[in-house]
Symmetry: C2
Subunit: 376 residues, 2 copies
Amino acid sequence: MDLLSSTPLACARFVTLKTTHGALPKSTHFLRPRIPTFSALMSPPSTAVLYENHGPPDTVTKLLELPPVEIKANDVCVKMLASPIHPSDLNIIEGVYPVRPPLPAVGGREGVGEVHSVGSSIQGLSPGDLVMMSPPSDGTWQTHVVKDQSFWHKIDKDTPVEYAATVSVNPLTALRMIEDFVDLNSGDAIVQNGATSMVGQCVIQLAKLRGIRTINIIRDRTGSDKAKEKLKKLGADEVYTQSQLDVKNVKSLLANVPEPVLGFNCVGGNAATLVLKFLRQGGTMVTYGGMAKKPVTVSTSAFIFKDLSLTGFYLQKWISSDKTQECREMLDYLLGLIREGKLKYDMELVPFSESHVALDKSLGKLGSQPKQVIKF
Amino acid sequence: MDLLSSTPLACARFVTLKTTHGALPKSTHFLRPRIPTFSALMSPPSTAVLYENHGPPDTVTKLLELPPVEIKANDVCVKMLASPIHPSDLNIIEGVYPVRPPLPAVGGREGVGEVHSVGSSIQGLSPGDLVMMSPPSDGTWQTHVVKDQSFWHKIDKDTPVEYAATVSVNPLTALRMIEDFVDLNSGDAIVQNGATSMVGQCVIQLAKLRGIRTINIIRDRTGSDKAKEKLKKLGADEVYTQSQLDVKNVKSLLANVPEPVLGFNCVGGNAATLVLKFLRQGGTMVTYGGMAKKPVTVSTSAFIFKDLSLTGFYLQKWISSDKTQECREMLDYLLGLIREGKLKYDMELVPFSESHVALDKSLGKLGSQPKQVIKF
């Protein structure tokens, strides 16, 4: 039996070899763990989705049992309840994302769980408390996570776990983008592409709560009529497929919605061009994703005469600028909306044992799917 | 003899038909002028480069003699001394610029002259004063311009006229772009393309005066070595032709110059991409021209992870936001630098009678040429 070197959780565990896709890993050159002192408080063993090397997530990840780790004075051991699979999680495993945990690493960066046991110095958290990881941090795709208390934010036990597991990345992105770039007033409008995404759904609802109208662009695909209906039920003012916008002047389609002053782009390519076309004089487009893997193309006259500004949003950067407290206040606000039924979005809960299927779905191998959330 | 309807100068003049390129205009349906009262103060007749319709500047402009106009109480009649030909002047004649004077119109929007006579209410300006047009306004390509006193800014008689004629568009653009977008400190760096342009030359010198380094990108062409030398003499820290930047990592070329925080783009296409490549994390690119007539292309990751912001600068918008006084203070500052020999740039002075050649040169029909300035 080999031993695992320090994981992103800064712990070392014994390893039971088993991959999520059946094949045994070829190389498992792990280091021996430090032997804990006899009296040390230990976590339970943890079953984890782990990768030793960067590569395609469906081939490099393995489901492994990691050995107990010491729970130090300021640590909290959390029995995970739910954790989502984000495109950025996949990019991190692929090694194409700026976040690069040391290898081997456990996947996932966001999630919720129940406090299992606490270190000797911990105050304010007790076994049974519902906590979410905030700020996001590596290694949520496992049954038991041990981390310093600064990573855990206690939340209301009435919060649906699938929402608590997902609120700190996408809904927070939507909230920050609405708040941070343009001074919006009730009656203003926002245009966004990728509107069926979790961020997109949140933008619609958070905007509506502020009296802000939304113009939403979605892909042409089977079921786009249903998708339109769904977004309109969430509060979308206008929803167009890209092909509907293949007209000379997209603004001629706007009936009662004013020209938008702010645009969100998570796609790139033509879908970004459509956002730019809708924007009013002096408008701003914020890019926060690049799902089409195509660049944004802008005429020089759009900068000079239409006075457009283009910028980007990267939640990780925002969080790392020492905004933990501000961040948690916003999460509480969002969780409050969720509990009141004012903020909802599509998810599919998947048992942990089926996490390889959730991974395949997240990779798009099974067509368009809602956000996959692992339930432990 | 036909009569000309109200020109952009809001005056009406008798017309002698003669085009800059020899051909007589096909249609000259001009209205009769209002007959001035017997005692009215009148301007001299004015010879002007005029166009009746939008189109190619070398075919739609004509050199015409316009009749005297009344000098009203608040008007100043200025005998023009010099006025430049800008690409935007050509775009206005072509009808592809947001500024659209009513037709027929006299070309040009910037220039300097000597006060010839003043209206009955004028104080602070007398015949013989040197005045420049500020804010820029239509109709400087003529020997005598009559406009409200608010358009004229009195300047030091020691100012070289070719500089006084050209300071309010390009040098002011350079100054505003350095001042308005990023809080620059001594030791910071700027990257720009189109560095041999008049704005580019001013950026180099105004930056150097502030201890700011410049990285300059120029076109590949015969004489690029000479152009490099020239820019370095003005104070450029680094000058590269585009082909020199066809390397994997442009930043590896920077020896002692820090990664730039601000970039200026007046070209578009690949030259804009090069500016973006040089910019440091969180940098800003300001587009103020599109000489290559190609769009700006940006990867979504440049927005998200490199945190780049792209925006535009349009002097006309800046000036029209009621900044006449602030603007004139900056012009005085720039003219001071010029008189001290701290700000200079290439120009070619062309006699008014040769304005059709200057137009051809400005249109690029005779290869790369310095800024053409009509001397009356």
